[in-house]
Amino acid sequence: MSQAVSPLLPDMDMVSDNACLLTFSQTISEAISDRIAQVSHQLTTLPGIIDLVPSYTTLLVVFDGDHFDRFAICKAIRQLILQLDPKDALQADVREIVIPVYYGAEVGPDLDEVAAHCGLSTNDVIEQHCANLYRAYAIGFTPGFAFLGNTPAQLHIGRKTTPRLKVPIGSVAIAENQTAVYPSVTPGGWQIIGRTPIKLVDWGSENLALIAMGDKVRFEAISRQDFLAQGGNLDGF
């Protein structure tokens, strides 16, 4: 059901009677991620749409099929997308979020293993992790969990063979070419190298989640003392 009418339009496929998947590309890139963020943002205002799930190359649109016809909805989606100039997708309002991290073995039990695997000192690992500006390509797995890419090639490492049953809140981790912060206590298989004292989700706040899809994220090393002063917690392992 490809609709290759205009280069602006993604492929649209129905995946159920009240959801369709827009596929913007087969490969991941910053430009595609910008475009998805732009379209996703605009679609929130379209009547009949009840949920949007943006990801790396796709956008899942869930609509109210009980009150809106799917052909009308799909037409409205197409019209709206055609009106959005991809040039405007390079939003001026892109946010940069800085996340303070205490990198230490007591909160980052995999730090030494990562350093050994990458053939770097732990200080090099920390420096490299902080030097990069990351992009939030997708949010998922658990509420507020942002998949941040891409880590420098030297920091690429696989997931742990056996995932941990409980990863403490705020844990900063890497896996493959990605990095992330665990917003809540969950099982997890990523390599944990540090911990942030700040909250990633707060259901009482207006933003709910600190990081939104499309945001830029940077990590900043802080001392154990600063970590504790900012409310950081050392428990969990």
Binding site: S16, D17, L21, V53, V62, G140
Partner: protein
């Protein structure tokens, strides 16, 4: 004016139609596993579609009424009694102050819905009461807790009871083991042979089935080994992980994932599944989006016109 929880049951959760509009930050929808039963329970009491109810899984629950009201029971038959007197599901009952409502164990099905006139009056988290234990959101505490002993479930007092029951023919046939599935997503990425295997096999509901997903056991399906780029997961998606055993993702599903998917079971298909127990056998029947729409519109029209 409330129900007091005497015995909390195996798994009793406050639910409405779900938490919508927050999947972009990874918050799942929650909501009733058997949406049709949920909608009928509210219709029986002339409640709003979204009025809060209790989803009672398996039973072992006991509630004491602290004020008069009317209740509606739909979904599974969990051998419910009111002051010791047997209740038949899919109808309304008058409840007086001091009455005790008991749910024992399943006679058939797994999940019952208890609606109260006007709906339960609990606080919302992100616009919904839907309890998602995995995400620690919703429910009475707002933190995703299931019902606990001594919990108080508030409702508005109501004295004018109206006896109503769902027309027999409108009650879903839960013995149906064919689960309708809309073909979509990466359906074309599976070979003809794998598709044939999938639609001609019996699958058993495994022990590891819950509100997040129903794991099935049967003929393994071979998919594209390298997986796909993670994408949004629609309700009812049937994903095929590396071991080839299908998982049907339901109300508490994760919002994104990278396994290839055969298609989506309809909301009615999900309702049928939700009443199946570990060990029950099911088969998938492919349907088109048009057929899924017809099924849905007929069910919704019946409900609305009966009201």
């Amino acid at each position: 004016m409330a129900f007091k929880v005497i015995k909390p049951g195996m798994l009793a959760l406050l639910q409405d139609l779900g938490r919508h509009g927050h999947q972009a930050i990874g918050v799942t929808t929650g909501g009733p596993m058997d949406e049709l039963a949920f909608r009928w329970a509210n219709a029986l009491l002339d409640n709003e579609d979204n009025a809060q109810q209790l989803e009672i899984t398996f039973g072992m629950l006991s509630l004491e009424a602290q004020a008069n009201t009317s209740v509606a029971l739909t979904g599974a038959d969990l051998d419910a009694t009111l002051n010791g007197k047997s209740l038949t599901p899919w109808q309304t009952y008058a409840v007086k102050t001091g009455d005790v409502l008991n749910f024992q164990q399943p006679v058939w099905g797994l999940r019952a819905y208890l609606a109260v006139k006007g709906g339960f009056q609990c606080e919302l988290t992100l616009g919904s009461v839907a309890t998602v234990m995995r995400e620690k959101i919703g429910g009475l505490t707002g933190k995703g807790d299931k019902l606990q002993k001594d919990d108080i479930l508030p409702y508005h007092r109501h004295d004018q009871h109206q006896q109503r029951s769902v027309p027999r023919a409108a009650i879903p046939d839960y013995s149906q083991s064919d689960i309708p599935l809309v073909l979509g997503y990466q359906y074309r990425s599976f070979s003809d042979l794998q598709r044939a295997h999938f639609f001609s096999s019996d699958y058993k509901v495994s022990q590891n089935s819950d509100r997040m997903g129903y794991r099935l056991a049967g003929n393994a399906i071979q998919g594209d080994a390298k997986g796909i780029i993670s994408e949004g997961i629609a309700y009812g998606s049937v994903q095929i992980p590396k071991d080839g055993q299908p998982i049907v993702l339901l109300r508490d599903r994760q919002t994104i994932g990278g396994y290839p998917k055969m298609g989506c079971v309809t909301r009615f298909g999900g309702a049928l599944l939700a009443q199946k127990k570990p060990g029950d056998a099911i088969q998938f029947t492919p349907i088109t989006v048009d057929q899924a729409e017809h099924e849905r519109h007929l069910q919704m029209a019946r409900l609305q016109q009966w009201r």
